[in-house]
């Protein structure tokens, strides 16, 4: 038994595969939204990322917190909640690029339950697991489990692959300094 799964998680060590671009300003917002589930109690949380895609990378631009029923060990999106997420994407003219959810402990692999349920499971979709109910935020990203769907399964990026393929982009660069 490996945490919440029965088999070892597939790993993706490629340094040149599909990339994920995260604006730096989005990162603390994602953590804040994840922590906001549970009405003051520590619960798992879930956030979807809308953005744009090219053949080589996904660019996240918008964090969406759906209506969800949460517990310290699970989350479940409510009936109609997914439609509201998709409506938001449509209104903003974005597409779904990732799902992010928090786990109670430092274990950030996909559980068997994560591989089923409400997860998005299509080529090029990202799924990110944040440890400790996102209490410490998302950084450094190697603390998180960053998973990419391809060839019929989710695989977790190695630390080297995360460093090479998941990029934090500043909101502005001042070249005059």
């Amino acid at each position: 038994m490996y945490g919440g799964r029965l088999t070892p998680i597939p790993m993706d060590g490629s340094l040149t595969g599909r990339r994920l671009v995260l604006p730096e300003t989005l990162v603390p917002e994602i953590a804040r939204l994840l922590r906001s589930y549970g009405d003051g109690e520590a619960h798992e949380g879930v956030v979807y990322l809308g953005g744009v895609e090219t053949s080589e990378q996904s660019v996240a631009l918008l964090a969406i917190a759906p209506v969800a029923t949460t517990t310290p060990g699970s989350f479940r999106t409510g009936l109609g909640a997914n439609t509201a997420v998709v409506s938001t994407l449509a209104t903003q003219r974005l597409i779904l690029v990732a799902q992010i959810h928090s786990h109670p402990s430092d274990w950030v692999d996909h559980s068997d339950g994560d591989d089923r349920g409400a997860l998005v499971r299509f080529e090029g979709y990202w799924s990110i697991v944040i440890p400790g109910f996102a209490g410490q935020g998302l950084l450094p990203l190697t603390r998180c489990g960053i998973h990419l769907y391809g060839q019929g399964r989710f695989a977790r990026l190695t630390d080297a692959a995360v460093a090479a393929r998941v990029r934090l982009i500043p909101v502005a660069v001042d070249l005059r300094r």
Binding site: T77, V85, V86, T91
Partner: protein
């Protein structure tokens, strides 16, 4: 529920696996909630850029076909002409309903126009559209069909 939930889930997930490359190719956003057997798909017409949200209720699948409805992306209105695309080679019926044997709502017993179809035979009427992946691909093709697509059915 006549079909065990786990059976419906297995059918849906198996059939969606056949189109796992399509979201990346055509910009679909798909959310599948196995708990509530609800599949939500956002598609975009390449002709005018309009976005359409399809909701597939999949209880009792595959004994019964999906129950398909459209949701307006900005107002959230469900099942009205403003939610639907127009044209679609007869599939986008102005009732409005997706007029196909693979939609429960097309049958007269469910308020649709067809009294001549028998729902239990749904999967045998159009063999090339009897799987979820094929239904989704057809819907995208209809949204991209310059010969028939007329934009949103009503403004």
């Amino acid at each position: 529920m006549a079909v065990a939930k786990a059976v419906s889930i297995a059918h849906v997930e198996s059939e969606l696996a056949a189109v796992e490359l399509w979201p990346a190719r055509d910009g679909w956003s798909i959310l599948w909630d196995a708990d509530s057997l609800l599949l939500v798909v956002l598609m975009r017409s390449t002709i005018d850029g309009e976005r359409y949200i399809f909701e597939f209720e999949l209880d009792d699948y595959r004994q019964l076909p999906p129950s398909i409805e459209l949701v307006h992306p900005e107002t959230g209105e469900v099942g009205i002409r403003r939610s639907y695309p127009g044209g679609g080679r007869g599939y986008f019926h102005n009732k409005p309903v997706i007029c196909a044997p693979w939609n429960r709502k097309a049958y007269q017993t469910h308020g649709g126009p067809h009294s001549d179809w028998v729902m239990k035979n749904w999967a045998s009427y159009r063999l090339n559209h009897s799987r979820l992946g094929d239904m989704l691909v057809l819907l995208q093709e209809l949204l991209d069909d310059r010969a028939s697509y007329t934009g949103r059915m009503e403004r």
